[in-house]
Amino acid sequence: MADEADFDAFVVARSPALLRTSYLLVQDERLAEDLLQTALTKAWFAWKGIKDPEAYVRRILVTTSASWWRRQWTREMPTAVLPDRPSPVMAQGPEDGQDLWDAIGHLPRRQRAVVVLRYMEDRSEAETAQLLDCSVGTVKSQCAKALAKLRLDAALEPVVDERSRS
């Protein structure tokens, strides 16, 4: 029971931070909650043997989001409500961030995870490597590739106002 109490305390205390990571990985609030709960459920079954619960759950978040991505990336997602698209003029300024958000969403799963962990979670290369179960060299190369892709992504190209051409 002590284990269960620890687990509950952990969920209450750390789930907001974990939800943020989850949201950054999947970019959808509903999926982020689902991913977090899935990761917490998986962690519960290994709870007694876990030394660093937060790192463990984060790692599950990353690997599970990757497997979800593999399963769902070609699937159409029906929706009753069309997402709001900001107007090109609104999305022009870097202060908006929508374009960068979209461009990150276009990255392959592993590169997206590296960008999230390194630049949004501000983790070191070593920590990122540990969470992704890869070498620091791989983190560096994935980072470089991700940044190169982001620079080339159409979503981040400056929008030219049609009116200014005439």
Binding site: D8, V11, V12, S15, P16, L19, R20, Y23, L24, E29, A32, E33, L36, Q37, T38, L40, T41, W44, F45, T63, S67, R70, R71, P94, E95, G97, L100, W101, I104, V115, Y119, M120, E121, D122, L150, R151, L156
Partner: protein
């Protein structure tokens, strides 16, 4: 795009609340459901084990009652084939001999043998080293629970029911073929190939027959048929070597090997292939149509077809699978290479029964699998690829590390037989051509 942009997005993500209030309750609900599923799974596994044990006991009792105690000794009267002509002798199939015994389509000496059982065979390979360097090539072969010292570096390993066969690291264009039943390896021939194209020996899924193409001078080659149970070459016939002089002999000339026949093509570069069947028991050659070859393939045990339905599925000697949860979904199923990664269904060719395989619950080490060996009529071995998905790259690098799983076709249950390590790859008969 700069660091502030990322920070801004991260800060926005912090405002997401999700279902903070209900989360703990919902997580405990999920835990309860997962526990229930696990318990049900354990009960089902126990029930299945008990049912299997009961079934086996009934069968054993029935066998004791019905089968005479002495079994007829299998006759091993292989007529020595006398095929020495430089070009293949094409004979029209002769009408069946009128005998009182029921007609047998392809008489063979091996059908009277005990059921064929094969051991999982592979060689470990140290990753991070170049396979082209002799000093780093493997020298140890795992043959079931035995470890065999090959005595020399090798490039490729395969198996028959009697032992392991391997191609040594070639010092020139051609590689020596060696056979071992666990004792000191014996050189049994030489196969053509190249370091870039690889070296391939065609083997049957069951039994003792091997076939390979052996180069002869100046630009000719012979197809060699070897029986590992008899430790001898049972046939050798000349074929015109394809391609320009000194080009490596193409391993894909041999289409399929069974324990009673070898299918091979007289030409692989011409507009139309002539397909031949060499009969091991009689030593005769017969020209056959592709339709008849495919019909024969489909009627063989240990044959999987992949496609949308059993009727339209095509034969895949080494089908690939993708893990979806714990279920394995077959990939490909058409002859078009562009379709190789489509989800599909696999069936046992002879019965048309769906092949429904599942990895152990909680097994998440790999996403991609490939059939690499049949162990008997009901068990097959899968190679799991633990580093990403080599298939999506359009090729299979057979030195990839990964586990071996053994699956029972009738129950669909797979278990991990050999745990791979991230630093150790494998060498075996899996290569690009296996997926044709």
């Amino acid at each position: 795009m700069n660091a502030e942009d990322f920070t801004l997005l991260a800060e926005r993500a912090s405002t997401i609340e999700g279902r903070q209030a209900d989360r703990l309750v919902e997580v405990h609900g999920r835990i309860r459901r997962a526990r229930r599923r696990r318990r049900l799974g354990n009960v089902a596994a126990l029930a299945m084990t008990l049912a299997l044990m009961a079934g086996t006991a009934v069968l054993v009792t029935a066998d004791k009652d019905q089968i005479p105690p002495t079994k007829p000794t299998p006759s091993i009267e292989t007529p020595t084939p006398t095929i020495e002509t430089p070009s293949p002798t094409i004979e029209t199939p002769s009408p069946p001999v009128e005998t009182p015994t029921p007609p047998v389509e392809t008489p063979t000496v091996v059908r009277g043998k005990a059921p064929s059982v094969r051991r999982l065979t592979y060689g470990p390979f140290k990753l991070g080293t170049s396979p082209s360097k002799p000093g780093t090539s493997p020298q140890t072969i795992h043959f079931g629970d035995r470890t065999i010292d090959a005595g020399r570096p090798f490039w490729y390993v395969d198996a028959t029911d009697d032992g392991a066969v391997f191609v040594e690291y070639p010092d020139a264009r051609n590689g020596g073929i060696w056979f071992t039943d666990g004792s000191a390896p014996v050189r049994i021939g030489q196969t053509a190939g190249s370091r870039s194209r690889g070296y391939r020996i065609a083997s049957s899924n069951a039994g003792s027959i091997l076939a390979w193409e052996e180069p002869t001078e100046p630009n000719d080659a012979e197809i060699v048929v070897y029986a590992t149970d008899q430790r001898r070459v049972v046939a050798r016939f000349g074929v015109a070597r394809s391609g320009p002089p000194f080009s490596p002999v193409r391993p894909e000339r041999i289409e399929a090997v069974y324990d009673d026949s070898v299918y091979w093509k007289t030409s692989i570069d011409g507009p139309r292939d002539t397909l031949m069947r060499y009969e091991v028991s009689t030593g005769t050659q017969v020209e056959v149509s592709r339709a008849s070859f495919e019909a024969d393939q489909r009627n063989r045990p240990r044959t999987i077809v992949v496609g949308k339905t059993a009727a339209t599925a095509v034969v895949k000697p080494a089908p690939r699978f993708r893990r979806v949860g714990s279920r394995l979904v077959a990939r490909g199923g058409t002859l078009a290479s562009s379709d190789r990664d489509y989800d599909s269904s696999a069936f046992e060719s002879r019965t048309g029964r769906p092949l429904e395989l599942s990895v152990p619950t909680g097994y998440t080490s790999a996403e991609d699998f490939q059939l690499v060996q049949w162990l008997d009529d009901d068990r097959l071995a899968l190679k799991a690829f633990i580093r990403g998905s080599p298939f999506t790259e359009g090729y299979i690098w057979h030195h990839e590390p990964g586990d071996f799983l053994i699956c029972t076709v009738s129950s669909g249950i797979c278990t991990v037989a050999v745990q791979g390590s991230a630093s150790t790859g494998i060498v075996m008969h899996l290569d690009d051509s296996s997926d044709r």
